[in-house]
């Protein structure tokens, strides 16, 4: 299972992912720069990613908790999601996301 992550400089990284892991954890574990200050507790909004257009509809919609946290992102895009709230599963094999500037440490 893989995900494709575009970093702040536009470089694409192919990262091995594991079932049940949060996308944020996959990104962090492979050493990509992501602040994720609250460690996935949906309490900081510093793990924002832009989801590739083709994948937006394949994700489980954001929960009320995630929407509340997205309020703390100063410039939310229509495809903004908190990567700690996306759980890896077979259906998401090949997911493409781009790190949002707000997630930089």
């Amino acid at each position: 299972m893989k995900i494709f992550v575009t970093d702040y400089d536009g470089k694409v990284h192919e990262l091995e992912a594991l079932e049940g892991w949060r996308v944020m954890e996959v990104i962090r574990d492979w050493g990509q720069d992501i602040k994720a200050e609250c460690g996935g507790a949906c309490a900081c909004a510093t793990c924002e990613v832009y989801v590739d257009e083709d994948w937006v509809s394949k994700l489980i919609p954001a929960s009320k908790e995630e929407e509340n946290m997205l309020d703390l992102v100063p410039n939310v895009e229509a495809n903004s999601r908190l990567s700690c709230q996306i759980l890896m599963s077979e259906e998401l094999d090949g997911l493409k996301v781009t790190l949002a500037p707000n997630s930089k440490t």
């Binding site: 602040k35 200050e37 507790a41 510093t46 309020d71 100063p74 410039n75 707000n102």
Partner: protein
């Protein structure tokens, strides 16, 4: 010594769980503490990031929330009468010739003590800055992240961004004195007290304030004087709103901040310490909790508590070098129990 200078045994930078528990361990050794934190209340990450979330690995507490742990710690250290200085950032720490430390805050207060404990955790909590071009240029004057002096908003064109309690509270408080007030939020759902939301909506209905669904696109002005904010509405069009005061409320984020400038040996932005005393590269300056680094370090509250206990022994030796410290249990020592006010 100037009049405003505060002298004490130990200055603790950061009132997170670890800074709080250090008061207890130092207190048992008769050392008096002053704590300084940029937040407006104790608890650090526990209070700011996860007050309602459960913690399962505090020894003796199968489950406890971040806020409960903070409240319990405050209760536990009360007998030692620690003094708190909130809403203040420690900017400078300097070792003087006589071996004591001078600590200066952003408000210009000066503290003096023979021991400084850095319990700065993940760094100081600072407001999130919207990534809008040139916003720095207006900060301090036209752009503010909290209201310190309400008079600076009188007769101004105020624009508030956000959908939480801070945003709505300031809409309600500033509306009566502002020349005009506009609230901008990305959606029509608010994470604030229902009563504030209703009051705000009533003001919109009465035409006393404006509410725009959208986000900041760009700023216009000269020097530190803002004149207008361009708002990208949800529909995609840009609206130009005359604005002289902008208040963005997007919560806080941890930044290492001034800690990096205090001349300490750092290891990847963490303060290097030994594991006997948790002392930094500067004698008399200790670092405990999430901010320190040593081989095997775990960023857990539990580890921070242990570090606080060992650090306190070393601090005692610096402050009262000739006093013999006898190891005692709180369970059986009447002396310790007297200090705790239970005997």
């Amino acid at each position: 010594m100037s009049k405003s200078e505060i002298s004490t045994d130990v200055i603790i930078i950061g009132a997170g769980p670890v800074g709080l528990f250090a008061v207890f361990e130092l207190g048992l050794l008769d050392l008096k503490c002053h704590l300084i934190d940029i937040l407006d209340r104790p608890g650090g990450q526990c209070a700011e990031l996860y007050p309602e979330k459960p913690i399962y690995d505090i020894p003796g507490f199968p489950v406890i929330s971040g806020q409960e742990l903070t409240d319990n710690l405050m209760k536990q250290i009360k007998p030692f009468n620690p003094e708190f200085h909130y809403n203040r950032m420690v900017e400078k720490v300097e070792k003087l010739k006589d071996g004591t430390f001078k600590v200066v805050t952003d408000e210009g207060e000066v503290f003096r003590a023979p021991v400084v404990v850095i319990a700065a955790g993940g760094g100081s909590f600072q407001p999130k800055r919207p990534p809008v071009e040139n916003i720095e240029q207006y900060e301090g004057k036209s752009v503010q992240y909290s209201v310190r002096r309400i008079e600076e908003f009188r007769d101004q064109d105020v624009l508030i961004v956000g959908g939480g309690d801070s945003a709505l509270d300031w809409v309600l408080n500033l509306q009566p004195i502002a020349k005009s007030l506009t609230l901008v939020h990305r959606r029509d759902v608010f994470r604030a007290a229902t009563s504030s939301v209703n009051e705000m909506l009533a003001l919109v209905d009465a035409g006393k304030i404006d509410f725009i669904l959208g986000q900041i696109a760009s700023l216009e002005g000269e020097g530190d004087e803002l004149s207008a904010v361009n708002i990208k509405s949800k529909a995609g069009d840009i609206r130009n709103i005359p604005t002289t005061r902008l208040l963005p409320f997007f919560g806080l984020t941890m930044k290492l901040g001034p800690v990096a400038d205090w001349g300490l040996e750092l290891n990847d932005n963490l303060i290097a310490v030994d594991t006997e005393k948790f002392e930094t590269s500067i004698k008399g300056m200790f670092a405990i909790g999430d901010i320190n680094y040593y081989p095997g370090k775990l960023k857990l509250i539990l580890s921070g508590f242990h570090e606080a206990a060992l650090m306190s022994q070393a601090a005692k030796k610096i402050i009262n070098p000739d006093e013999r410290v006898i190891f005692q249990y709180t369970t059986s020592s009447t002396k310790l129990q007297k200090k705790l006010g239970v005997k």
